[in-house]
Amino acid sequence: MTEPRSLQTPPRRKPGGALVFWASAALFAVLFALLTFQLSSGTTGTTTTASRPVQVRKVIKRRIVTTVVPSPGKNRVVSGPATSSEAAPEVPAEPITTSTS
């Protein structure tokens, strides 16, 4: 009489702990070395073109504000907003005075 063959596949043997450890460490070391090389050479894994250099510019705008204070006196030429008359106004004969009323 022959023994019936087992229907179950024999259980796989687990790799040893030391093997897993050293394999992981080796893989890590290889990947680390690869990434270090890529970074130092300026390439990445997704693109092979070199990244553009970044230009930093400092833009300085200088505005000069000038206030023109015209003279109310006679015969003075003053640059400023256009008025209805180019001539300076006559000085009133009697001074304008604020006083108690």
Partner: protein
């Protein structure tokens, strides 16, 4: 640029109009015509709003026993101006002190009457103290209903344009002069300046010192209002021989002696300037400085010292003749 210059008497004071000719081609009457139109307006303003004229609309309102009284747009505007002045001054410029001013003796216009010398009056005046608003703030009972064309107030509450009328008149005339290149409306020292040309060519406005009567300071002004309030006019002796004047402490109804004899104020309008000047004078030196700090002004102490307050550029007139035009108040 030629300007039309006219001086006449109204509102118990001298009124002066200085109006530049409109530009050629502008659809505006000539400066002479505008001046005459403005003069008629001021005369009509005075006729309608003087408490010294029994036939005025203001006198009719003050005598009217009704609570709601129909009023012309001009009277409503004048009362609104009085309310605005009271609000701006927290009740110090109170337009309802008619009974109080009459009790002091200011019943008829004192225009042209010689007054007591202020310097002498200061020696016999009561101790100085700031004026205070009237506790019951009766001016708050004044209501202007423009929709109904009415003024609403308790019967017997009388209104006086004295504190605000000249400034308001200057502002209303200025509004009629829109488009003219340069103008001054001077209603008894309450002055409104306007026109684009005045920004380029500011007017020189002198400030009269209340004690010396001299033009002590000069201000160059391109737009807005300037006004002066002081104790040197409308000052007299009452029946008891006390020296009294027309600027009352609303809290007491008596003439205010605050340590200041004059104040000049700038403002966006003549009404605002007049209100600030009067409020500063009534408040005394400490609070007066605060009132003038925003728009600028001058205060004159009892001893005659003139103090500049806030954003105002002034030139003492002794140096004005030689001063460079670098100081412009606007």
């Amino acid at each position: 640029m030629k300007e039309h210059d006219l001086t006449f008497d109204a509102m118990g004071s001298h009124v002066r109009l200085l109006i530049g000719e409109p530009p050629a081609g502008a659809d505006l009457p000539s400066a002479a015509e505008a001046t005459e139109s403005a003069r008629r307006f001021v005369v009509e303003f005075d006729r309608a709003l003087s408490r010294f004229k029994p036939e005025s609309e203001l006198s009719a309102l003050n005598d009217d026993p009704r609570e709601r009284v129909p009023a012309s747009p001009l009277l409503r505007r004048a009362i609104q101006a009085g309310i605005e002045a009271a609000e701006l001054s927290d009740g110090l410029v109170d337009p309802t002190l008619v009974g109080e001013i009459e009790r002091v003796g200011y019943i008829d216009s004192r225009a042209g009457m010689a007054g007591e010398p202020l310097a002498d009056a200061l020696g016999s005046a009561p101790p100085r103290r700031p004026a205070r608003p009237r506790p019951d703030s009766r001016w708050r009972e004044l209501v202007v209903d423009d929709d109904a064309g009415e003024v609403i107030r308790p019967a017997g509450l009388r209104f006086d344009t004295g504190g605000t009328g000249k400034g308001l008149a200057a502002d209303l005339v200025a509004a009629r002069l829109r488009g003219y290149p340069r103008f001054v409306v001077d209603c008894g020292g309450d002055i409104r300046i306007g026109g684009a040309g005045a920004l380029t060519w500011p007017y020189e406005v002198f400030v009269e010192h209340p004690l010396s009567g001299e033009r002590s300071h000069l201000i160059r002004l391109g737009f807005g209002g300037i006004a002066t309030s002081g104790l040197n006019v409308r000052i007299w002796r009452d029946a008891e021989g006390r020296v009294v004047h027309h600027l009352l402490d609303p809290a007491t109804g008596e003439p205010a002696w605050t340590g200041l004899v004059g104040a000049t104020a700038l403002g966006d309008t003549a009404l605002e300037a007049e209100t600030r000047a009067k409020a500063a004078l009534l408040s005394g030196p400490l609070e007066g400085r605060r009132i003038l700090a925003e728009k600028g002004g001058l205060i004159v102490h009892d001893d005659g010292e003139v103090e500049r307050v806030g954003p105002i550029a002034v030139i003492p007139t002794t140096a004005a003749a030689s001063a460079e035009p670098a100081e412009v108040a606007a």
